[in-house]
Symmetry: C2
Subunit: 324 residues, 2 copies
């Protein structure tokens, strides 16, 4: 694989090159990992490009795909290039998304200004975090203006997505409250902006009440000292009727600009890079246990001996560690 | 420290020796870790003793301490020696339990047949899992017949406790339902026996309704193939009035005996030992990153460089790993 060529084509915004690069960073093969690291280094040396990275969370049923389609088309209509990455470790059980994200966002996926990447099937959260952070970096290097990292709003993946984005947006449906919608309190507290979708037709009054309820609730949650006083905000949107989308974007942009101007975005990205580094060291260290065939055999044999009661867990572990 | 002597006194059921041994396994100091491993090896070589290990989960307010007091006194009254270990990683924020578990279980703590160990303040779940598994092994070696591992019913600690016990008991309060009581569905699914506490006085009718509701709900959950058809069971108890305790114990004993007779307990313990071994290897490997002062400095300096944008996360991680 010619990594220099791949880097060049990616920087020239070739979508196929970006897709190929993401496939490379998603691979857990040692030779692919080395190529991926090389690619990321080359891209770091290139022109400095920075996207606005938006984490978007919402449980199934709130209309997340419709919102991304509507929001994405709005952005490309403004001349912005938009990448959508899906992060859903829970879908690993079914081996990735069933229908594929592209069929969920038909218009956007045909838009040359947009790039949509479905969830991969990945074994564990650590692996998903690693490939997602690298995929975000690839989208940035490819010159995308906005990178949306989408997640399902029910698991641990939100903390991970917050750790790789500049803004965190929570999409809710009208009525019911976050508990009934299965949204955890911790996720509520992460949100910079809550969008109450389906504010159209019969559901509009319920949506407006939900907006008012959450605006009240958010005032009770601890404020983040570094944000303007009127954030986090709650806004109604209708992905279907394409209403409130411009306003939502304006608020996202305004908060992001404020954070950039006050140095908060830079310090957040610095802290994120530090956490990425530390996680990378830990993951790579643990990967040594499974990469080396000799060690893998030794681990397996020791595990059998331990399970059969012939060796103690701690004693057998000590033997393995003496080998390393 | 004379480890042979400590082992001897522990096997002679000296409570002070057991307390001291647990303090040793709780320590994260490298020399203490080595002594702890030595102690565990000596004890493994001794007389084979096996306790019934019971995981007990319940959110604050269900009367868990009163239940353990009542249940523990019942067991010691039957001539059994009982150890109670508390596992509560969430209490780490306040630096361990505030009042101390012994004041919560006043009668049991004065019983010479019982041993109660309060939660330690521990930094992370991995550390808590390690010391808890080792503490359970120490209690077994000290000849306790029943080891109760208590947890708070709201976090990840339940999976950990299930991974080191033979039976998992969930304590609920009457009415409200598990969601209102903050019990996660995953925890419901782990339970071998659900006890609805406070089945006394005014609350008795509500407790009996709760028993019936959960009996119905459990029939809808997937059954474990290896258990008798009438498990998981739901039973009423009153820790305060000391009612239903004997019945609860009878059911626990009957399920445990059934599993022993069918080889399920042995295979479960084998799988648990295997998981312990694998976790031990991973934790010890990661501990190397912080134990070596030179490496720790290198990690810190690299992290600063990464945060400042002078190094890439993946590149800096590669440099660290080349050092190892």
């Amino acid at each position: 694989m010619d990594i220099q060529d791949l880097a060049q084509r990616l920087q020239n915004a070739e979508r196929r090159a970006l897709a190929r690069a993401i496939t490379l960073v998603e691979s857990s093969r040692a030779d692919h990992r080395a190529l991926a690291a090389e690619l990321l280094e080359i891209l770091r040396g290139g022109e400095r490009r920075e996207a606005l990275r938006i984490g978007l969370s919402g449980t199934p049923g709130v209309g997340k795909s419709t919102f991304i389609e509507s929001f994405g088309k709005f952005l490309t209509g403004q001349g912005k290039r938009v990448a959508v990455l899906a992060v859903d470790p829970s879908s690993t059980r079914s081996g990735g998304s069933i229908l594929g994200d592209k069929t969920r966002m038909e218009l956007l996926s045909r838009d040359p200004m947009a790039f949509i990447r479905p969830s991969p099937s990945q074994a564990h959260l650590g692996g998903v975090a690693r490939r997602s952070r690298e995929s975000v970096a690839l989208c940035e290097a490819a010159g995308y203006d906005v990178v949306i990292v989408e997640t399902v709003g029910v698991g641990q993946s939100e903390t991970m997505v917050e750790g790789m984005t500049d803004l965190f947006i929570l999409l809710l449906a009208p009525g019911g409250g976050d508990e009934l919608q299965g949204v955890k309190r911790g996720i509520m507290e992460m949100a910079d902006i809550i969008l109450v979708n389906k504010a159209d037709g019969d559901l509009k009054p319920a949506a407006m009440r939900t907006v008012a309820d959450y605006a009240g609730a958010l005032r009770l949650l601890r404020k983040r000292a570094q944000d303007p006083a009127d954030f986090p905000k709650v806004l109604p949107v209708s992905a279907l009727a394409e209403e409130g989308i411009a306003r939502a974007w304006e608020e996202m942009r305004s908060l992001a600009d404020w954070r950039v101007a006050n140095g908060h975005q830079a310090s957040r990205r610095g802290a994120q890079a530090r956490a990425w580094f530390e996680d990378e060291v830990r993951q790579a260290l643990l990967a040594r246990l499974t990469e080396d065939p000799h060690l893998r055999d030794l681990m397996r044999e020791s595990a059998e001996q331990v399970a059969a009661g012939h060796l103690s867990p701690v004693g057998a572990a000590g033997t393995i560690l003496a080998h390393l």
